[in-house]
């Protein structure tokens, strides 16, 4: 069988083209390619070379439209035994190609050519083309006769014209030779034989038969020559005769041959092939051809020779003629029939040719899978030959099938196709539609793919092509590792290594092997290096430009930018960056990645390679780093990996698609999941831009960056040292706070930073910060508790709860002499986040806070001058000072002395000393340190102690209605206002409590350098909630008793005009009260309200047993004056005095009590007294006063 047969094959003249002398392959190719322009020589062009020696047998030759067709058989071909049967199989001419400079001796050339021509017995025209001859050779060559044609060096065009002329000459010569042959054949005497004719015993019968047949065969052969000579009409005439004769003699083989020639003649004559009538005719005739070839099959010589190959050739010729999409079904049937013949073919190379042709035709038809199937059959036939040349062929043929089997090497896919693949996904922002993903994995027929790749690997190894072997093994391993046993995987790994050994180091391969590399994440800049876009023209340029909180997504920034699909990332020239990638080795061997680094196509990035070893079935997240070198965008499509001795590029997109496919169930396995790595949401490669150098502040806390350990409420100063580690000065800086517990930062030395600007590279500035440790929440405490019970060291959380100091800073606004484009764009600023790592330990803790009220009976006596007027006595000595603060004046009594008792426990390991100070409201402005310190209370470790905080100083001097009036007024109104006013009241109440609490400070000291303040707000608030009115509001009436020695001072008594004093300039007796003596006393009643109050005052005296001494039959105390039922009017904010005398009969302790029933009390009073009904009398009672009565001596 012959390759590339078609119906027209019968009409082409074969010319062998052979190299003569020593000639370089590429020169030989170059010269032969010049021939390829001359496949068809029009008859009209050869008339000048043609001389009609005799009457031409080709009487119908179309001189004006016909042509001769050449087929150049480069390298020559062996003789075919079927030359007699089909004249087109003969080599009619030989062209030698010689390169003169490399074969100087032209005689030798001519001789060699002559020798080679002897191999082509049928060749009638022989020419040797000698290219590029030297001068001497030119002179010499002209004497060499007609066979040697010299092509003197000349320009391309001249050479082409020369070549054309020569070819026309050859065509004319051939034509004349054909005429000669036909004339000779017509005169008889030519014996035409085929291998089919039995050569053994020729019986007489067969001899006669053969003689009869001879004529028909001669006619058929003449017809063949007519076709070669380009005269279809003549050919047809001869074929008709031949058909008649062959049919008569039953020479089916030659009949079929003549029929075939006839079809060729028909097509040559009617140049229109697409005419359906002609097509039908061709189909009909060729079917007949096939039938007759089949008929000519004889059993007796079937072992030796068979006409099958002609039948198959005829089938292929018809198939090629019909090969169009519309006729696919017919063609496929023909080709299937042809393929059926393969197993009956005796010669293996015939089968090869058959499969090649079938594959080609299927390919033309668009049946790529069919084509691939037969190509693979071809490759298998090649592989059976067990030699390296056949292996190379097999490899090449298999490479053709890879597209149909979807196992192409990336190298064979044109670049633009790849970029098209990535196109839609980029536009989609990385989201691929389902059908797109599916289309990527279409026709993934793993069984076939593996077989094909294995065969490619085998053939490549055999052919000695290490790169192809590497590529095939890489594809096999990467795509089908789940289907390969561990030992098979090992085998592939060693195949990769073996192939790499034969490759020069640094070889690139387009197909990645292992590991699988996917993008894990782009770590954001560490918070110390955050880059913030500067909004030009704003003082606070950082505001709104970037998420300033811990959240990447903020709902408000979402709407701002149009293109949110891609994250923006900014890198700075010269500052190293990291990209996290995840590697997976799903195979059963240790994978050594010699080096892996980011593949950057934009060329402005220096990537640092690292080396990784991946154990079997493992995945690893590694960080790949590099340094941006130039301003501009950076594009990172993947990684370059040097593994198994070859450098490959692993694109993130491929793995992404693979994982998508795995998620859809289209791919066998997800390499990352089978390595135990979790599902990762696909990371989109952000748009990365590199900006010019920026300043870089680094901070550390003076004294160590470790967490500052503070007890709750502890106050500590910190110094933060900030240095510019960049190459650009810092010109603007602004400090702010973020994170939790911001209020724990009491002060920041902003000025220190401000004054240091601009901060030159390398310069440093220290910023003081004052911290106050916050109080641990309940949860924190629980955590601590659970941690301590589990035996771990107590490690309070420093993570999320610490506040962060943020410094927004920026370099110069217009960046010196940069590229003009960057002038318009303001270089971004930066943000330095310094977490103030504070570890708060549980310090003193509250157990309980409660309000204590007590009444200490006072002695009736004189009133110290300054008992009440605190503001007047700041100069008194400290001891007295303290006494007064405690506010227990034994001679004055105390109305409603109240303490806030804080019970504190100390769960820590250190001793605390607690001091209470109260800030006084009535301190004057210049005297704002009017605080009172109580003695310190020491609380040992693991002990509980109580601290008392007197609340006396908070009493308002006047019982004002502001708290109460609203309440009582609202009583008469509708419910709604009640609610409102109650709310109002509550708010006011809370405010006043807050106000109250804020004045109390509980400070503690522990050790030498820990000091702080307790957070008592919550505790005290709860304690005070109910009784705040009692604390804050004075009683409407206050009572006190005193002894009056004589009435001298009374005249001098004057009322204090300032309203605050109860003081009077009288001279109270200092002596003891004696029994049996008239003791003049007076009760002082002060009205603390703004309205005058009418009261009915009564005084009682009780003895130690509590018996009323002034009433009853045997009273121990006699009295004069009025003791009960005295109606008195007390003017607002003033004091009245009621005098009486007591006569004690028995010495001892007596208690005097003053009480008053307020007549017609107003709302304020009623509210204060918490009386429920308006009719209830409002009763006021003073504190008890003790009177010690001494006996008379």
């Amino acid at each position: 069988m012959e390759p590339d047969v078609s119906i027209e094959t019968s009409s082409t003249i074969r010319i062998a083209v052979i190299p003569i002398g020593s000639i370089h392959l590429h020169l030989f190719r170059k010269y032969t390619s010049m021939l390829s322009n001359h496949h068809t020589i029009p008859l009209s062009s050869i008339t000048s070379f043609y001389t009609e020696h005799q009457k031409s047998p080709f009487s119908q030759q179309p001189w004006d439209s016909g042509s001769l067709r050449f087929k150049f058989i480069v390298g020559g071909s062996p003789l075919s035994p079927w030359e007699d049967f089909q004249s087109s199989r003969k080599v009619h001419a030989v062209i030698g190609i010689c390169h003169c400079p490399s074969s100087p001796d032209l005689d030798a050339v001519v001789e060699e050519f002559g020798g080679l021509c002897k191999g082509y017995s049928s060749a009638v025209v022989k020419r040797c083309f000698a290219f590029a001859p030297g001068d001497t050779q030119l002179a010499d060559g002209n004497s060499q006769g007609n066979n040697l044609v010299l092509f003197p060096p000349a320009d391309q065009r001249t050479q082409e014209i020369h070549m054309q002329t020569m070819m026309q000459d050859i065509a004319a010569s051939l034509l004349m030779e054909f005429e000669k042959w036909v004339l000779q054949a017509e005169s008889g005497g030519t014996i035409l034989k085929t291998p089919l004719d039995s050569q053994a015993s020729l019986s007489s019968e067969e001899v006669i038969k053969a003689k009869k047949r001879r004529l028909g065969r001669a006619q058929k052969t003449i017809g063949d020559y007519c076709l070669l000579a380009g005269s279809p009409v003549d050919a047809n005439a001869h074929y008709s005769t031949a058909l008649e004769l062959a049919r008569l003699t039953g020479d089916y083989f030659w009949y079929a041959g003549a029929l075939e020639g006839g079809v060729c003649a028909l097509l040559m004559d009617k140049a229109v092939q697409k005419d359906p009538v002609i097509e039908e005719e061709v189909k009909y005739r060729y079917n007949s051809v096939i039938v007759h070839y089949r008929k000519s099959f004889t059993q007796d010589n079937a072992q030796r020779v068979s006409p099958l190959s002609f039948e198959l050739e005829a089938t292929l010729k018809l198939a090629r003629f019909l090969c169009r999409r519309e006729l696919a079904k017919e063609v496929a049937e023909l080709l299937t029939a042809a393929a059926d013949g393969a197993k009956s073919l005796i010669d293996a190379s015939d089968r090869l040719i058959l499969y090649v042709e079938i594959a080609r035709l299927y390919g033309t038809l668009g049946y790529h899978r069919k084509a691939a199937f037969f190509s693979r059959q071809v490759a298998q036939l090649y592989l059976q030959q067990e030699n390296s040349l056949a292996a190379i062929s097999a490899m090449q043929v298999l490479a053709l099938t890879t597209k149909a089997y979807r196992v192409q090497s990336r190298a064979s896919i044109p670049k633009h196709a790849i970029s098209n693949d990535t196109g839609p996904s980029v536009a989609d922002g990385g989201k691929m539609h389902h059908h797109l993903v599916v289309s990527l994995f279409e026709s993934q027929w793993s069984t076939l793919q593996m077989v094909v790749l294995k065969e490619i690997l085998l053939s490549a190894v055999r052919a000695g092509d290490p790169l192809a072997a590497w590529s095939a093994a890489a594809r096999l391993l990467r795509s089908y590792y789940p289907l390969i046993t561990p030992s098979g995987q090992n085998g592939l790994a060693s195949a990769l290594n073996n192939a790499a050994e034969r490759l020069p180091s640094g070889t690139h391969c387009a197909d990645p092997a292992l590991p699988f590399v996917r993008l894990h994440s782009f770590p954001l800049h560490p918070s110390q290096m955050d880059i913030i876009k500067r909004s030009p023209g704003r003082e606070d340029w950082w505001a709104g430009s970037a998420p300033s909180g811990p959240f990447i997504y903020t709902p408000f920034s979402k709407g701002d930018s149009v293109d949110n699909s891609k994250q923006e990332l900014v890198w700075v020239v010269g500052e190293p960056v990291q990209v996290l990638v995840e590697l997976a080795n799903p195979c059963g061997f240790d994978l050594l990645v010699n080096s892996i680094y980011l593949s950057v196509h934009s060329g402005n990035f220096d990537a640092f390679p690292i080396s990784v070893t991946l154990p079997p079935n493992s995945s690893k997240v590694i960080s790949l780093s590099g340094i941006p070198t130039e301003v501009g965008p950076v594009n990172i499509p993947g990684c370059l990996v040097h593994c198994f001795g070859v450098i490959t590029e692993h694109l993130f997109k491929d793995v992404e698609n693979l994982l998508l496919g795995a998620a859809q169930g289209l791919v066998i396995s997800d390499p990352f999941r089978c390595c135990g790595s979790g599902k990762l949401k696909t990371t989109i490669v952000p748009n990365i831009t590199v900006v010019p150098s920026l300043p870089l502040l680094v901070s550390h806390i003076v004294g160590g960056d470790g967490a500052v350990i503070l007890y709750e409420g502890e106050i500590r100063d910190l110094w933060i040292s900030v240095a510019n580690a960049g190459t650009v000065p810092v010109e603007q800086a602004h400090i702010s706070l973020s994170g939790k517990n911001q209020d724990s930062v009491i002060s920041i030395g902003y000025e220190a930073l401000k004054s240091a600007l601009p901060l030159k590279p390398g310069a440093e500035v220290t910023i003081p910060v004052t911290l106050k440790a916050w109080q641990l929440g309940l949860m924190d405490l629980d955590n601590i508790a659970s941690k301590s019970t589990s035996g771990n060291a107590i490690r309070p959380m420093k993570d999320a709860s610490s506040p962060m100091l943020m410094i927004h800073y920026a370099g110069p606004a217009d960046n010196h002499e940069e590229l003009p484009e960057s002038v318009s764009v303001m270089p971004p600023g930066r943000r330095l986040v310094t977490p103030l790592n504070v570890c708060v330990f549980q310090g003193l803790s509250f157990v309980k806070a409660r309000l204590l009220s007590m009444e200490i009976p006072a002695h009736v006596g004189e009133i110290s001058d300054s008992a009440h007027n605190n503001s007047a006595d700041n100069t008194t000595d400290p001891s007295k000072h303290t006494d007064r603060l405690v506010k227990i004046d034994p001679y004055r009594g105390s109305w409603g002395l109240r303490f806030l008792e804080l019970e504190l426990s100390n769960p820590t390991d250190v001793v605390f000393e607690v001091g209470v100070s109260v800030q006084l409201e009535n301190g004057t402005i210049e005297d704002n340190t009017s605080e009172f310190d109580y003695p310190k209370t020491r609380i040992d470790r693991d002990y509980t102690a109580r601290v008392l905080i007197p609340l006396e100083h908070f009493k308002l001097p006047v019982l004002d209605g502001s708290f109460l009036v609203t309440n009582s007024q609202s009583n008469g109104n509708g419910g709604k206002t009640v609610n409102f006013s109650e709310k109002n009241k509550k708010a006011e109440l809370n405010a006043s409590i807050k106000n109250l609490i804020s004045k109390i400070k509980v400070r503690w000291v522990s050790g030498r350098n820990s000091s702080g303040e307790l957070h008592i707000k919550d505790a005290t608030q709860a304690a005070l909630q109910t009784s705040v009115m009692d604390v804050l509001l004075p009683d409407p009436l206050t009572f006190s008793f005193r002894l009056v020695k004589d009435q001298v001072g009374e005249v001098d008594k004057k009322h204090s005009s300032n309203g605050s004093g109860i003081e009077g300039n009288y001279f109270p007796s200092k002596g003891p009260v004696l029994a049996h003596d008239m003791t003049p006393m007076e009760v002082l009643v002060r009205n603390n309200t703004k309205d005058s109050i009418t009261i009915s005052l009564s005084i009682t005296c009780r003895d130690v047993a509590g018996e009323n001494c002034t009433e009853g039959s045997n009273s121990a105390v006699l009295w004069s004056g009025a003791l009960s039922g005295m109606k008195v009017d007390v003017p607002p904010l003033e004091e009245i005095k009621h005098s009486f005398c007591l006569y004690f009969l028995v010495p001892g302790e007596y208690t005097l009590l003053a009480a008053a029933v307020i007549d017609d009390p107003n709302e304020i009073l009623r509210a204060r007294a918490r009386s429920s009904s308006p009719d209830e009398p409002v009763f006021c009672r003073g504190p008890p006063y003790h009177v010690r009565v001494n006996g008379t001596l």
Partner: protein, 147 residues
């Protein structure tokens, strides 16, 4: 069925979702691969043929050597049930084919029922591999019954 047979289900994306060597001949891996290659190549023919006929059962649409490809194209999801079988039979090809045809249609319909059940399985993702062992046993049982 036949001594050599390979049954496959090909999804509409040309991905094989089920394959079974159901012949009685001893199984060889090489041969099984070859069977799949033949079926894969036959997809070209099926692809063209499926549009030219309304029939769902396409008998012997392709062959290679002695192996014949018959296909059942499902209408709804364009999934193809493909059977590769050898045509060599002692009783003569024709009678064998009639028998196989009948059985195959029957089998195909039953198979189709099974297939639909698979498709209706809410956990089954169309186009992904059929891994149901129930389906597998059913196919093999049907193949044995039609021997």
């Amino acid at each position: 069925m036949a001594s050599t047979a390979c049954f496959m289900i090909i999804s509409k994306n040309d991905i094989p979702i089920y394959e079974a060597e159901v012949g009685t001949a001893p199984k060889k891996e090489e041969a099984a691969h070859q069977h799949q290659f033949i079926l894969h190549a036959a997809l070209d023919i099926v692809q063209d043929l499926a549009w030219t006929t309304s029939a769902m059962f396409l008998k012997a649409i392709d062959r290679f050597n002695d192996l014949v490809v018959s296909v059942y194209v499902t209408a709804a999801v364009h999934t193809r049930l493909m059977l590769l079988h050898d045509s060599r039979n002692d009783d003569g090809i024709k009678s064998f084919f009639q028998e196989v045809h009948e059985l195959y249609i029957k089998a195909s319909f039953t198979l189709l029922t099974v297939f639909v059940i698979i498709l209706l399985n809410p956990l089954y993702l169309p186009g992904s591999r059929v891994t149901s062992s129930h389906f597998d046993t059913k196919v093999r049982a049907l193949a044995r019954r039609s021997e």
